[in-house]
Every structure is written in structure tokens, then in C-alpha cells.
């Protein structure tokens, strides 16, 4: 009998469902009496809705209801004085319009076609107000966020870089980027009486969704059932419960039938967050032998006027490199736009692009190889928190990546290597992302046939959570993976954190591990052995012998106090080889090597896929993706999949994912540190730096499209 082990390349346990079309996503459940909800977006950017003529819509065939600010049934959590007020936009709760595309009505009809058409029949009268969407114009209106952790950081002396012998001071710009998961955001909601509601909704965290909906409607959380078994990608866009999900529940209550509300691709540009437009200034000062003496990192990014969004854009500069002086400043600029949301490798990816680009610029100024420069400023402890790393193998990442990309073939002189008409260049970009672990619970059940079922209210937006959990359970229990089923995406299961911040395997994996250990201990005890005996035992046999129909337990798991004494991060070094065509400005990534210290790797196959996928996201960030805004009208002009360019197959070369694969001794029993974010962090800089090495053109405003190469 083959024993599946942590680290094996196991095929996805839900692979068969996904390749046969059998995997059901939230918009695909056939609920009796289903109706269709379609949102009507505002076409002004700031102001009020003064009147809505819904008569034609209500007369259109199949229309059941039109919800507007003038007739919306109240959502308890939206009301002043609510016990737990809902944060953010409260749809239809008042007639204010804060951004273009904000929903101002919801049409419910018998079919999708009828709802969609009726939505076009509503005539709205507005009182428009002046608006501000232009980030650059409003740059100086940036404010330090309310949350304390975003206040200015200073270690040593602020802006010390300015007095160093060698100085780099540059601005770097990232445009707004859209998560654009392939699955459209969708919620199907239906009520059972007045106090129980069920949702099939696209969610990265069913527990969070349950909490949000119960808060909005003043319900007992136990009466809010969330299903989100398959999620067609999210990348952060489903970390929170959005106003349109509340609206679907509101509508279902009104029409007393199930309502399915699906956003259009265009609506996903305004209603489910995005990586905010950001301008960062990096100041680096170094001695002539390449020792950093000062790092300054400032960031301005956009947020909404109605809700503040923040992320860790500048934090990386506090700890990634040794420097006696480091300071950061972080500000947000409120605009008449939808609120941003964390997008894969959130602020860290943004910050890493700026810092790692500036470091590359410094390497050319100093005439020191970029890897060597990083080695000269390597940190063996966390300079920000003055703590030891729980584990850090970034040096090993540099070394292995350099070997695999063929760093020795890199020319220190930009624009000097060719393959026919194309210029060749190499680049490196690094990053770090916090390794987290949250309290999680798992229920484990052993059945007489020797199979094991485990449940936890986690999600799987793509990384293969059930597969990794199965592998951890198989390894811990010492039984084959095909004897184990792992269930997720159901709020009635024991609690788990939202799938975000790269913490799922660390958190849920620990709970699964601990539940398996607890089960084994129980069985050992039943078998009359010492609880911690590691010798193989006959699971089913013990049940039969004790005449038990099954054995079930629920296990909580969380980090110990020890974790507070360490600084815990995943680290990455990405390497790119690119071709640049000097005449056409085309850039092709020819080779990409992603090396990560993410602790122990649970499933080599899915982990590699995750690394490759993050790298693809990074290639999109650096070369193709930009949500383009027209500030005259306050609307996106490329809010669709044809004009917002997610990389396609032809953009992507073979990508090599390399794991250091050494368990972190502190964070959790398996030793995993997380991959989801780190897989993207550093990629953009690696490619941009390679573009410079190839062409001698330093593009500091992403994405690096052909026009920018030609005009640089």
C-alpha cells in the first residue's frame, strides 16, 4: 500500500469534478423558483439621485420587483443605531452617489434576459455634484490613514539616504489593477421564513460571509447558511461581503423567492475592489562599497471617499535589507471611485516593485551585481522588530535562482546582448510576505470502513486546499489519501479563517494535523496503547472491536505564545530573462524562475502551480494590466476583458518553480509559511529590471507596454 506523504505531488482530489464540468460554482445551483437580479449602475460620479421612473421596467414582462433608494426595504444593519453597523457602501439606503457605476437600483425578474432588459428601462434623474477622480491632480490631498499602524515609521534618521555617497531617488507608478477572477461574482440567496437565509455565494471565507450577512440583517449567525464550495478564482476580490451580496438577500426577502444576482464583467471593475493606483517614491543611499545607509519609502494610493482602504505598501522597506536608517510614509487619496480591496500579494507586491526596482538602479550606479548588492545588505534578524527570523533562506533563493536562470550569462552592460533582432536581459526581484496562522477548528470522523472525513469552514479559490489537507491528514494518520475526504466551503463546519494572506495551509493545515493527532491518540487509547504510540494501528479494526459506528472529534488549533518571539515571513527571489524588440517595443518573457522559501511544501504539484500562477499574475502586473480611467466622465474606458489585458497563453513561457522546502520550526506543526502572495511579490521588478538590462530603458510606470519602450 502506497503511503501518501507531505511533499508528494498529489493530483487534485477535486480534479475530476473540475475537468468534467461537474464542479458547481455559486451561480450554478438549481434552486426551485429561481429569479434573476440585475443591478442598475449610476452614470454620474458624484451627487444624488433625485427621481427614478421605474414604470417601464415594472411593466416589462417577467419583472417582479425594482428596488431603488426610494422604496428599498430597510436593511437593519444599515440603520443608524444598529447594534453592529455595516461598514462601507450601503446600497439603496440613501440617494447619494459616490462613484460612477455605483448601483442605484436592482431589478428582479423571472429570467436573466428579462431582468437585464428591464434594467435598461429605468429613467434616472440626478443632481450631479463636482467630483474628483484624478489621482495625480489630488495627490497633495493624500492623508495618513486613521488606523495607527500606518503612521510614519522612522528607524535611525529620516531621509538619511540624501546624504549618502551614492543616491537613487525615483518615483514608481502602478496603475489600478483588477482582480478579474474568471468567475463572475454571484450570489444566490433564499429565505426560509423571516429569520433564516441561505446563500450560495462567491466567498473566500464562509465564516466571514455568515458574520456579515447576519450583521446586516440582524440574524442569529446560526440562521445564516453560506455555501461556497467551488470558487472560480478571487485573488482577494471575495475577501469581504460586498454590498451587492446584501442586496441579493434583501431582494430575496422582498420577492419571497430565491434571487440570483450575477455581476457583469464590466460591473466587476467598480464593485468588487482592485489594486489601487499607487505612486511610490524610493530614496536609497549607499556607501560606494554598496552598503545601504538609508532607505526611504513613501507611498500614495487611491481610496474611496466613502471608505478608507489601506495596505502594506511601504512595510517591506523596513526589514528586507539591513540599513541603519529607514523611514516610511504612507498616505491615501480619497476619490470618487469604488473602494479598492487587497489583490494577490497586496501592498507587498506594490512595495516590492518600487524597492526592488530602485535597488536595481542602485546596482548600476554602484557597478555592483544586483545579487551581490542584495548579499551585502542581507539581514540575519528582522531590523524592524528586532527579532530573529523564525526561518529565512533567502540567500539560498538567490543562489538557486541565479543558477537556473543562467545569471552568469547576464551582461552588466545594458543593451549589449542580442538574439537576432531581439535584445536579451536578465533581472531579479525579491519579496517577503508575513507568515500567518489563525485559530482554526476541524472536525474529523473515522468510519468503520476505515475512511476518514474532515470538515472545516475554509475555502478553496484555486490553490487546492482540499488536496493539501488530504495530504496532511494522510501523512499524519498514516493512511492513503484516497481514504480521506476533506470538505470545505460551508459555514456550518467548524470555523476557519478567510482564505487570504497566504495563511490557509498554516492555519487549517495545523487544525487538520492536530485533529488527526487527536484521533490517533483516541484510537491508541482505545487500543490500550500509550496515546502517543507511533506504531501503525488498524483504525477500522479498533472501531469494530469496540462496536463503535464511528469516531468523531472536533479540534481547535492555534499558534502558541512562542510565535511572538519571532519574525515570520515567506521570502522569494524571482528571476526573469526577457527579450525586447528595439524597433517595435515588444517585450517577451522568455524564461522565469521563481524561488521561494515558503517553509515546508505540502503538495509539490499544486504548490508549483500556485507559484507559476502568481508569476503569471506578476507578468500581468508588469507588462499588460492597467485599468484606465477617464477623469472627464469618472468612468473606466477599458472595463472589459478585451481591453483590460490579463496575460494570455502566448504571453507566458515555461515557468520554473523552485522550493527551498525547509520546514519553519516555529510557525506550525507542519512548518509551512504560505505561498499565495509571495508567488507574485517580486515578479514585476524582476521583469522590469530584465527589461532595463536588455534595452537600457528604465520604465517606472507600469505596465511596460510597447509604446513606453519606444518613447523611453
Amino acid at each position: 500500500m502506497k503511503q501518501d506523504k507531505i511533499g508528494d505531488p498529489l493530483d487534485r482530489v477535486d480534479g475530476r469534478l473540475k475537468v468534467t464540468g461537474g464542479a458547481k460554482y455559486s451561480g450554478e445551483y438549481k434552486v426551485p423558483g429561481l429569479t434573476y437580479g440585475v443591478l442598475v449602475p449610476a452614470t454620474i460620479t458624484n451627487g444624488t439621485v433625485t427621481a427614478m421612473d421605474t414604470r417601464a421596467a415594472l411593466r416589462a414582462p417577467g419583472v417582479l420587483a425594482v428596488i431603488t433608494p426610494f422604496n428599498a426595504p430597510p436593511v437593519p444593519g444599515y440603520q443608524p443605531g444598529a447594534a453592529k453597523p455595516v461598514k462601507g457602501l450601503k446600497l439603496f439606503n440613501d440617494n447619494q452617489v459616490h462613484f460612477n457605476g455605483q448601483p442605484i437600483a436592482l431589478v428582479v425578474a423571472e429570467t436573466f434576459e428579462r431582468a437585464t432588459y428591464a434594467a435598461t428601462l429605468i429613467k434616472t434623474t440626478y443632481q450631479p455634484q463636482p467630483f474628483e477622480t484624478d489621482f495625480h491632480k489630488n495627490f497633495d490631498k493624500g492623508v495618513v490613514p486613521n488606523e495607527g499602524k500606518y503612521k510614519d515609521y522612522v528607524r535611525g534618521e529620516a531621509d538619511a539616504y540624501k546624504n549618502a555617497p551614492v543616491v537613487v531617488e525615483q518615483d514608481y507608478m502602478l496603475p489600478s489593477e483588477m482582480h478579474n477572477p474568471m468567475e463572475l461574482h454571484v450570489t444566490t440567496a433564499f429565505w426560509d421564513g423571516d429569520d433564516k437565509v441561505t446563500l450560495y455565494t462567491k466567498s473566500q471565507g464562509v465564516v466571514g460571509s455568515q458574520r456579515a450577512i447576519s450583521t446586516a440583517f440582524g440574524l442569529d449567525p446560526a440562521n445564516v447558511q453560506i455555501h461556497s464550495r467551488f470558487v472560480g478564482g478571487a485573488f482577494g476580490s471575495s475577501l469581504r461581503t460586498w454590498p451587492h451580496e446584501v442586496a441579493a438577500v434583501q431582494a430575496a426577502k422582498l420577492v419571497k423567492r430565491p434571487v440570483k444576482l450575477t455581476l457583469t464583467r464590466e460591473q466587476m471593475f467598480t464593485l468588487v475592489g482592485y489594486r489601487p493606483l499607487t505612486i511610490q517614491r524610493i530614496g536609497l543611499g549607499a556607501s560606494t562599497d554598496g552598503k545601504l545607509v538609508g532607505i526611504t519609502h513613501e507611498s500614495h494610493s487611491q481610496t474611496a471617499v466613502y471608505e478608507e482602504f489601506t495596505e502594506n505598501a511601504v512595510n517591506v522597506s523596513r526589514f528586507l535589507y539591513a540599513s541603519p536608517n529607514a523611514n516610511t510614509r504612507y498616505k491615501v487619496v480619497p476619490l470618487n471611485v469604488g473602494v479598492p480591496a487587497p489583490m494577490r500579494g497586496p501592498g507587498e507586491a506594490t512595495g516590492s516593485f518600487a524597492l526592488e526596482s530602485a535597488l536595481d538602479e542602485l546596482s548600476y550606479k554602484l557597478g555592483i551585481d544586483p545579487i551581490e548588492l542584495r548579499l551585502r545588505n542581507y539581514t540575519y534578524t528582522d531590523p524592524e522588530r528586532n527579532l530573529p527570523w523564525s526561518s529565512k533562506y533567502l540567500k539560498e533563493c538567490y543562489q538557486q535562482g541565479a543558477e537556473r536562470i543562467g545569471w552568469d550569462k547576464r551582461s552588466a552592460q545594458p543593451g549589449t546582448q542580442r538574439d537576432g533582432e531581439w535584445l536579451i536581459g536578465y533581472g531579479i526581484g525579491c519579496g517577503a510576505f508575513g507568515a500567518y496562522r489563525s485559530k482554526t477548528s476541524a472536525k474529523i470522523k473515522l468510519l468503520p470502513d476505515g475512511t476518514v472525513n474532515i470538515q472545516s469552514a475554509t475555502s478553496d479559490i484555486g490553490p487546492g486546499t482540499a488536496t493539501s489537507m488530504t495530504l496532511i491528514a494522510a501523512d499524519t494518520l498514516g493512511i492513503p489519501a484516497d481514504k480521506i475526504t476533506f470538505q470545505l466551503g460551508d459555514s456550518s463546519y467548524p470555523i476557519a479563517p478567510t482564505q487570504g494572506g497566504s495563511q490557509t495551509v498554516s492555519s487549517v493545515g495545523s487544525a487538520v494535523h492536530d485533529a488527526c493527532v487527536a484521533l490517533k491518540q483516541k484510537l491508541n487509547t482505545l487500543a490500550g496503547l500509550s496515546p502517543d504510540t507511533t506504531a501503525p494501528i488498524d483504525y477500522a479494526g479498533i472501531l469494530t472491536k469496540h462496536n463503535l459506528p464511528m469516531l468523531e472529534l472536533t479540534q481547535d488549533s492555534q499558534a502558541g505564545d512562542d510565535a511572538k518571539n519571532y519574525s515570520m515571513y515567506s521570502f522569494s527571489a524571482h528571476f526573469a530573462q526577457v527579450y525586447v524588440h528595439p524597433l517595435t517595443g515588444q517585450v517577451r518573457v522568455k524564461k522565469l524562475v521563481a524561488v521561494v522559501d515558503g517553509g515546508k511544501i505540502v503538495n509539490l504539484k499544486t504548490a508549483s502551480s500556485q507559484m507559476i500562477g502568481g508569476a503569471v499574475g506578476g507578468i500581468g502586473m508588469v507588462l499588460t494590466e492597467e485599468a484606465v480611467f477617464d477623469d472627464h466622465f469618472g468612468r473606466y474606458v477599458n472595463g472589459n476583458f478585451a481591453d483590460y489585458h490579463v496575460p494570455v497563453n502566448a504571453d507566458i513561457p515555461d515557468i520554473e518553480a523552485i522550493f527551498i522546502d525547509k520546514p519553519d520550526p516555529i510557525i506550525n506543526p507542519v512548518g509551512t509559511k504560505g505561498l499565495g502572495e509571495i508567488s507574485l511579490i517580486g515578479v514585476a521588478a524582476a521583469v522590469a529590471n530584465a527589461v532595463y538590462n536588455a534595452s537600457g530603458k528604465r520604465i517606472r510606470e507600469l505596465p511596460i507596454t510597447p509604446d513606453k519602450i519606444l518613447m523611453a
Binding site: G585, D643, V648, P706
Partner: protein, 325 residues
């Protein structure tokens, strides 16, 4: 989509009559552009007249060249042995456009009829003279990175998005149309029009006229051809600039040349002066650069598409290099 009626047509004459009967009736072929426009509310038809059953799918040799039925799909044309052999430029151009799935649906006639991709045209919440005459041009002072550098008017600076059209105009194709007044031929170069004061009119078809076929002259440029499309990602994106280049060579001398550009004008943009210049010349960077310079005469850029003044001549140079290599 707004509700509309549907008529399946079995004969061209009947289809034409059906469209003429109602002011908001449209022919439906592959649907890849029209259905999208209806979904976006840009077109609100009362009736669609499905012409797919019409016998217009053939690709046949004629006495003077090759006839492409208006309903032959883009894939069928691009992959046809006679096209690959005699008109490789057309094959290259078609395969540079859209995606395999869309090319399997889109037809020759439909590709010619596709509307601009200008986002102000597609977004009914913004002004557009092409969609809604008299409402203004949002792109003129707006985000005009993708827009025209040749032949635009204050009313419209949109570009024709087709790749196929660029090759067709370079190859001197001729369009056969049938309408209420009978049949007529339109040189491909005259099929699409510049916006002028009537950007709502993409082409010179009259109401009720149906494209029946496109004729290609005898193969003359089957060897030294290139289609270069510069875009924001490697595939499945509209052109920033594209160039169709075809050369006839006698030893080391260019005896004839065809050059056209996409992504630069309201119609596929033929570069006659540059072609004339190239005739009798020896291929080389200097010659090609001069040709490119000639081709760029009269170009005018807007706020966000200044780069096209550099990219377009570079693309011409690169396409000529590839074609002559």
C-alpha cells in the same frame, strides 16, 4: 439585450427585403460583433435577419483570382489551401485577429462590418458621435491612446479594428454587394469611409445592401509578405498599430509593393505613396525608413497616442524587413 424578432432567411433577396421593411432590422451573420453590441445597448434591433443559411460560404477559384463567399468564416479563409498558397498575407492578417473561437464564428462579410472598438462608442453612458450623432466625441479630449492618426475628423477619431481588412485593402480586393437596386462592385479601398461629419457611417453600403462575396485578384504577392501587429499583449488584443507588407521581387529589386496599416485610421489605411517609392528600389533599412517616412506624411496624433507617430514608421520598417528577408 432588448427583445427583438428573428427571421431565418433562405435567400438573399428575401433577407434584403426583410431588412428594408423595418428601420431597425439588421443582418445577422457570425454575430461576434453584433450580439456584443446588442448586449451593450449600442445596437437595439427590432429584428435580426439571420443570413447564415444563405449559400455564401464558398471559397472558389475564378477566372481572375479567388472568390471568398461573404459567409465563409475567418478560419475557413485563413486555412484554405488556395489562400495559403496565393494570398498568405490574408491568412497572416486574419490569424492575427481575435481568437480561434471567434475566427470560427466571424465571417468575411461580418469582419468587414465590425464596428470600432472605441470605448466611448461601446459605453452608452459617454458621448459618441458614431453611436449617437451629435452627442460629441468622448475620445477627442479623452483617453485616445488607441485612436487614429490618419484621416480623423473633429467628430470622430476612432479606428477600424479589423486585421483582415488591412490585408484585403493591400491586396486590392473587390466587394460584391446586392441590394434593392441590384448588384454592384465596390473596390475594397472604397468600402470603408473616413468619419468626416458622418462617423455613424462606417462604410459606403446603402441600407439593405448585403455583402455577397469578396474577390481577390490573381495572386501576385505570394512570397515576400509580412503582417506585423503590435499590441498590448502577445495575442487576443486589438492593434496599437499593424502593418501589412507585400513585396514582389526580381532578384534584389522590388518590382511592386503593397503596404497598408491597421489601428491608425477609420478605415484600413493603404500607403500608396510609400508603395510607389519602393518600386525599383533595393531592399534595405535606409530604403524602408524612407518609405516609412513617406507613409507618415499627414499623420496627426492626440494626447495619448503620440507614440503612434514613432511606432507606426517603426512597424513599417520592421514589416518590410521581415517581408524582404
Amino acid at each position: 439585450m432588448n427583445p427583438f424578432q428573428y427571421t431565418r432567411s433562405l435567400a438573399a433577396a428575401g433577407a434584403i427585403q426583410s431588412v428594408l421593411k423595418e428601420p431597425h432590422a439588421h443582418f445577422l451573420a457570425g454575430g461576434t460583433n453584433l450580439i456584443d453590441l446588442i448586449k451593450m445597448g449600442v445596437v437595439t434591433p427590432e429584428r435580426l435577419v439571420d443570413i447564415n443559411p444563405l449559400p455564401l460560404k464558398g471559397i472558389e477559384k475564378t477566372a481572375t483570382g479567388l472568390r471568398l463567399g461573404a459567409l465563409a468564416t475567418n478560419s475557413e479563409v485563413a486555412d484554405h489551401p488556395l489562400v495559403l498558397q496565393g494570398y498568405p498575407l490574408l491568412s497572416l492578417a486574419i490569424n492575427a485577429g481575435a481568437s480561434p473561437q471567434l475566427r470560427n464564428m466571424a465571417t468575411v462579410g461580418g469582419n468587414m462590418m465590425q464596428r470600432t472598438r472605441c470605448n466611448y462608442f461601446f459605453d452608452t453612458a459617454m458621448p459618441c458621435n458614431k453611436r449617437s450623432p451629435g452627442s460629441g466625441c468622448g475620445a477627442l479630449e479623452g483617453i485616445n491612446r488607441m485612436h487614429a492618426i490618419f484621416g480623423a475628423s473633429p467628430a470622430c477619431i476612432a479606428v477600424n479594428p479589423s486585421d483582415m481588412n488591412v490585408a484585403m485593402v493591400a491586396l486590392d480586393a473587390v466587394v460584391h454587394v446586392k441590394g434593392p437596386k441590384g448588384e454592384r462592385k465596390i473596390p475594397f479601398a472604397d468600402f470603408h469611409r473616413l468619419p468626416g461629419d458622418h462617423p455613424e457611417k462606417d462604410n459606403t453600403l446603402e441600407r439593405g445592401e448585403l455583402i455577397m462575396a469578396v474577390d481577390l485578384p490573381a495572386p501576385a504577392f505570394s512570397q515576400h509578405v509580412a503582417y506585423l501587429k503590435i499590441r498590448d499583449r502577445t495575442s487576443y488584443a486589438f492593434a496599437l498599430v499593424s502593418v501589412a507588407a507585400a513585396l514582389k521581387m526580381d532578384g534584389n529589386m522590388i518590382t511592386d509593393a503593397r503596404l497598408a496599416m491597421g489601428g491608425v485610421a477609420h478605415k484600413p489605411w493603404r500607403l500608396h505613396a510609400a508603395e510607389t517609392f519602393l518600386k525599383g528600389k533595393t531592399p534595405g533599412d535606409d530604403t524602408f525608413k524612407q518609405a516609412a517616412q513617406i507613409a507618415m506624411q499627414g499623420a496627426k496624433a492626440y494626447r495619448y497616442n503620440q507614440f503612434k507617430l514613432t511606432m507606426a514608421p517603426n512597424a513599417i520598417l520592421q514589416a518590410l524587413k521581415t517581408a524582404s528577408a
